[in-house]
Symmetry: none
Subunit: 221 residues, 2 copies
DNA sequence: AAGAACACTTACAAACGGTGTAAGGAAAGA
DNA sequence: TCTTTCCTTACACCGTTTGTAAGTGTTCTT
């Protein structure tokens, strides 16, 4: 089960959170010493951080920033209800979601599950050069635009992005699409590629997928 | 920070909006593909939608209606023709505010802030007793399980949850589903209720929807 | 330059999910 | 029992995604 670290100075709140999360089956660690939070975090290497904004020593914001710099997993910010500005600030600094206190149990668990799913295994967004791809939802981002790919389009693009600037063979793509590299339906793959290219061009990303005759495809950039 | 999605086909206008909003600290997403706007919207789950009336594929009005049907948050309509009729029409279809183009920067930001404040109170997740419902995505949460409802299922359940333990009349539900309480297709409503009940039972939530003969339905719990 | 191998496009149909319609069965109340 | 109200099931329609099939375009080799 996932490991969650709680950073919250209010004891009652903390215990309640610990209780909820443990009952939900998570491995919970609550930080008691607020001096070297970031380095503690690196040691603990949690799958998710529950971070209160109002902390004695350091502001939650700074910690958030440092944690993000250390590339530690998703951060769920906790804030008292009435401070919208803080919340905005928090997300801007890299928190991945926020929640107002006091928080509904289901809501908390739902957000956590959501975040964990988003961050499971891989980064939430993988870099395609001139665009980004959310490999879980198959959402394509370019600048401020975004676009939802179909399943097949997403699988192909994901494979290409993960091997950016390298040649991806047809059998590899076939495996991504249908789970087998044994038999390749060349044509079906081809059609799906055409469709992906057409979709990409909607974000002015034409010519990003290069054909290497006889070998496969490569994502430029 | 709040997430805003822009639906605007005029590139210059769009970029200007994006620029203004980003500088104001919002997380901005602009839609480029005008084919599946509504489904994209569901994915993006923005806190506010900036919607142009004049769009290539579909009229902004229709989209507005669909978006409202999906229970996606506040819609700020943009119109270049400063025709009162259109604006009224837009508001009638569910837009929460409107603005004429070209729009003054401060005015735009003020309206947005206003709308966000108005809708801020509405929780991202509403409590149904033994479960929770995200009224935007129509995702149903129970413990650690979750389940995506269809549009109609979501609308009905939302109406019931928002009036938990109270009787919700058929005409109210009809309004939620089709926007009118004038004519009620009793049977269509009935079928949708059956389907919702069946879906709920997948999360062991059978018998949650109670029938009050001759009056309507009530969510137990 | 011509043929072959490879890559691409387009149109079509099957499959799927969500929805409304229609018809008949079940339950509640008089 | 009879009538009203509610429920269930089967069917058809629509839109999206996907695979199939057929034909066109391109590149390489001789």
């Amino acid at each position: 089960m996932a490991r969650i670290t709680i950073v919250e100075d209010d004891v009652l709140m903390r215990e309640e959170l610990v209780d909820i999360l443990q009952k939900a089956g998570y491995e919970v660690m609550a930080i008691a010493d607020f001096h070297n939070i970031v380095s503690q975090m690196v040691t603990l290497a949690p799958d998710l951080v529950l971070l209160d904004i109002n902390l004695p020593e350091q502001s939650g914001f700074e910690i958030c920033k440092s944690l993000k710099a250390k590339a530690i997993g998703p951060i769920l910010m906790l804030t008292s209800r009435d401070k919208l500005q803080d919340e905005l600030h928090g997300l801007h600094l890299g928190a991945d979601d926020y929640l107002t206190k006091p928080c509904n149990r289901d809501r908390l668990l739902a957000r956590i599950q959501n975040l964990l799913r988003r961050f499971e295994g891989q980064p939430g967004l993988i870099d395609g050069g001139s665009f980004s791809l959310d490999p879980n939802t198959f959402t394509l981002y370019k600048g401020s635009q975004s676009l939802l790919l179909s399943t097949n389009e997403g699988k192909i693009l994901k494979a290409l992005v993960e091997n950016r600037s390298e040649i991806v063979s047809k059998s590899t793509l076939s495996k991504c699409l249908w789970g087998t590299d044994q038999y390749i339906d060349e044509n079906a793959l081809q059609v799906n590629l055409t469709r992906l290219r057409k979709t990409l061009s909607q974000l002015n990303l034409e010519n990003k997928i290069e054909t290497i005759r006889g070998q496969g495809y490569r994502l430029k950039g």
